[in-house]
Amino acid sequence: MRASSARLRRLLGALLLLAAPTRAAAEVTPGTIIRDVWELLQQVGGDSSRAEPAKPRPRIIEARQDAVTLDLDDVAHPISLEQRIREAASGPDDQLRITVTGGQARLGDFSIGSDETVKGHVLVVRGDVTVAGRLDGNLVTWQGDVIVQPGAVITGDVLALGGEVRTLGGEITGAARTLSAPLVTGSVEAPIATGTRIVRAVAGVAGVFLMLFLVGAGLVLFARGPLETVSDTVRHSFARAFVVGLLGQVLLLPTFGMLVVGLVLSVAGILLLPFVLVVFALLLLASVVGGAIAMAYAMGETLTRRQMARGAAISPNGFRYVALGLGSVAALWLVWAAFGWVPTAGPLMQGAAIIVSWLLASIGFGAALLSRGGLREQFAGRVVPPEMLTDEYLWATPRFGVPAVRRPDKDATPRSGTPRFPDRDR
C-alpha cells in the first residue's frame, strides 16, 4: 500500500513537471504530450512486462551421481543445446543437479577477475558473466548476459541463451553466439465462439447465393432464351453435359497454353495477347457461372412442375426456377454452416457440399459448352436438326393401321395399280 502511494506521488510529480512551461509552446502537441506521459508512466510506474526476476544467490552447482551431464565441447548448435539445458535447469534453484564435462556449472552471477584464469567450460544458469581475465574453454549462459571486458581472453566459443554478449574489448578466439528467448508475436486472435462462427458461415453462404440469384435474375430478364437453352440441354443431355464438363475442366489449361503459344508464335498475335487473356477469362467466368445458374434453373423447373402436378397453385416463372434451384444447393451449405463446427462430421458435410456443388457446376459448364452458351439448340431437344429429317415423315398414314404384315399378292394387283387387301376385301 505504501509502495503504491509512493508510486502515485511520483507520477503526480512527473505530471506536474510535465505541465510546467519548460517547453516552447510550438513544440508541444497532443501527440508529444501523450508520448511523454506514456514514457513517464513507464519510467515511474515501471514496466511489469520487462521486470526481471530476482537473481539467485551465486553458487557453484554441485556435481552429484544423479546430476544431468552436459557436454559443452560443441556449442555451434544452440537450439539443441538450449533444449538440454532447459530440461536440466527446469527445477527449483536448490535442486539443480548439473555436471559439465570438463568444466563447471554455476548458478547466478559469475565473474572472472583480471588476474584470474579459469580452465574448462563454464555454464552459468540464471546469471550474468563478466570476464576480465582469461577463460580457457567455452562459456554458455542460460538466461544471462556475457560481458567481455577489455583485456579479457576467451579461448573458445561464447553462447548466451536468452541473453546478450556485450564485447567492451578483449578477445574471443571462437564465435560469440546469442539466441533470444522466444517472443510470441502476430495477431493472437480471440477465440471465436461457435455461435459467432455459425452466424458468420450462414451470412457467408447467404451472401454468395444471394449474389448468384441476382445474376440469375439478370439472366432471366435479359438472356432468357440462351438460359433456357442451356437449361434444356442439362435436362435432355444430362450425362453428355457432365462428360463434356469434366473434359472441359481437364482441357482448360492446355487449351489456354496452346492459345497463348499460338499467338506468340504468330508474332502479330502477340499484340492481341492481353485482349485474348481478358476475353478468355470472361468467357470462362460466364460459362461457369451461367452454366451453374442454368443448372439451378433446370432443377427449379423440374421441382415446380412436380409441385404443379400434385395440384399446387403456383405460377411457373424463371425467377422461381432460379430461386428454387439455388435454394436447393444453398440448403446443403446451410447444413454445413450450422453444424460445420462438429468434429469429423463438419468436414464431411463440407466435403459433401463441395462435391455436390462441383458436380452441378460441371454439368452446367458442360451444357454451356455443348450449347455454345445457349446459342445452339440441338442438344436442348427443342429443334430437330434437318439432317435428322427423312422423307419417312412425309408418308401418308393409313387410316386403318399399317398392313405391313402381309404384302399384297402379285396376282391380286389389278392393272389399275390399286392394291387389293384380301383380308379387308373379304
Binding site: A76, I172, A176, R177, L179, L183, T185, V264
Partner: protein, 280 residues
C-alpha cells in the same frame, strides 16, 4: 439447458496459432584467416549484407519464425562458412506466406579476408552492399526474389567470375565497374535484370547474358569501349548510341578498338526486350 450449450460453445472455440519469433546472432573476430568461402541460403524474408567493422571476420543476425525455420551458421575449419535459415520439414512444396515477412537477416563480412560468395535465395527481398569486399568469385542464384546488389567501392582484388541467375525475380546490380570481374554470366527468367556498369573501370570485362522472357537493361559507361553481340529471337533491342557493321549482329561504340577499358557483351534473348542506357 443454456448451461450445456454454453459449455459446448466454449469447448468448440479454439484460439488461432500465434507466431514465435526468435533472434539468433553470431559474431567471430578476425584471427588472421586469409580466406572465407561463404554460402548464404535463405528461403524467405529480407536479407541485408554489408562490410563488417574492422577486426570482425563475420557477423550474422537472424530474426526467424521458430515454427518454420532454424538458423544456419556453420563455420568449417577449411574456411567455409554457411549462413542463412533452413526450412524445417522434409522437403515437399514450400509455400511462402505473409508470415515469412517477419523473417530478416543481416550479414556482415570482413574486408580483410578473400571471399568466395554464393547466394541461394527463394522469396527474398535482398539488399547486398558488396563494395570494398575482397571478392574473388560470386555466384548469385534467386528464384523469386527482388534483389539489389551494389558495388559502392572498388574490389581490392580481381574477381575471376561472377554469375547471376535471376529466376523469375527482379535483379539490379549497380557499380559493376567496381566489381573488377573478368567474366560475368547473367541468366534471367521472367523478371527484369538491370546491369549498371558504373564504377572504376580497368581492363576487359566479358559479359554473357541469357534472357528468356524478361527485360534486360544495360547501363553502359560512355568512356568505356563497348561491343554488343546479339542473338535475339522475338526480343526487342534498342541499340541507342551503337553502330553495327554486320546487319545488326554486332554493335560497337566509336573507338572501341582503342579504348583503355573495354566491355564485351553477348546477349541471347528469346522473348522480352533489351534496352541500352548510357551513363557518364
Amino acid at each position: 439447458m443454456r448451461g450445456p450449450f454454453l459449455l459446448a460453445t466454449l469447448a468448440a472455440a479454439t484460439p488461432a496459432a500465434a507466431q514465435t519469433v526468435r533472434e539468433f546472432s553470431v559474431v567471430r573476430q578476425q584471427q588472421g584467416e586469409p580466406a572465407l568461402a561463404v554460402q548464404v541460403d535463405f528461403a524467405a524474408g529480407s536479407l541485408a549484407l554489408h562490410p563488417a567493422p574492422a577486426g570482425a571476420l563475420y557477423g550474422f543476425r537472424l530474426t526467424y519464425d521458430e515454427g518454420r525455420f532454424a538458423p544456419l551458421a556453420e563455420h568449417g575449419r577449411d574456411g567455409s562458412l554457411r549462413l542463412g535459415a533452413a526450412a524445417l520439414g522434409q522437403g515437399g512444396v514450400r509455400v511462402a506466406s505473409s508470415r515469412s515477412a517477419t523473417q530478416a537477416a543481416t550479414i556482415a563480412l570482413s574486408r580483410q579476408a578473400d571471399l568466395d560468395l554464393a547466394f541461394r535465395l527463394d522469396a527474398v527481398e535482398a539488399t547486398l552492399d558488396l563494395g570494398g569486399l575482397r571478392m574473388g568469385r560470386l555466384h548469385f542464384g534467386a528464384s523469386a526474389s527482388r534483389a539489389a546488389l551494389r558495388f559502392g567501392q572498388p574490389n581490392p582484388v580481381r574477381c575471376a567470375e561472377a554469375t547471376f541467375d535471376a529466376g523469375a525475380g527482379e535483379l539490379t546490380v549497380t557499380g559493376l565497374g567496381n566489381a573488377r570481374c573478368e567474366r560475368l554470366d547473367v541468366r534471367g527468367g521472367a523478371g527484369r535484370v538491370t546491369l549498371d556498369f558504373s564504377g572504376q573501370w580497368s581492363g576487359v570485362m566479358a559479359v554473357a547474358t541469357e534472357m528468356k522472357m524478361g527485360e534486360l537493361v544495360l547501363r553502359l559507361p560512355r568512356r568505356a569501349g563497348v561491343r554488343l553481340t546479339t542473338d535475339t529471337f522475338l526480343a526487342r533491342f534498342a541499340p541507342a548510341g551503337l553502330t553495327s557493321a554486320d546487319e545488326g549482329r554486332t554493335w560497337t561504340t566509336a573507338g572501341f578498338a582503342d579504348a583503355a577499358s573495354r566491355l564485351e557483351v553477348r546477349i541471347e534473348s528469346a522473348i522480352g526486350g533489351v534496352r541500352v542506357e548510357w551513363i557518364d
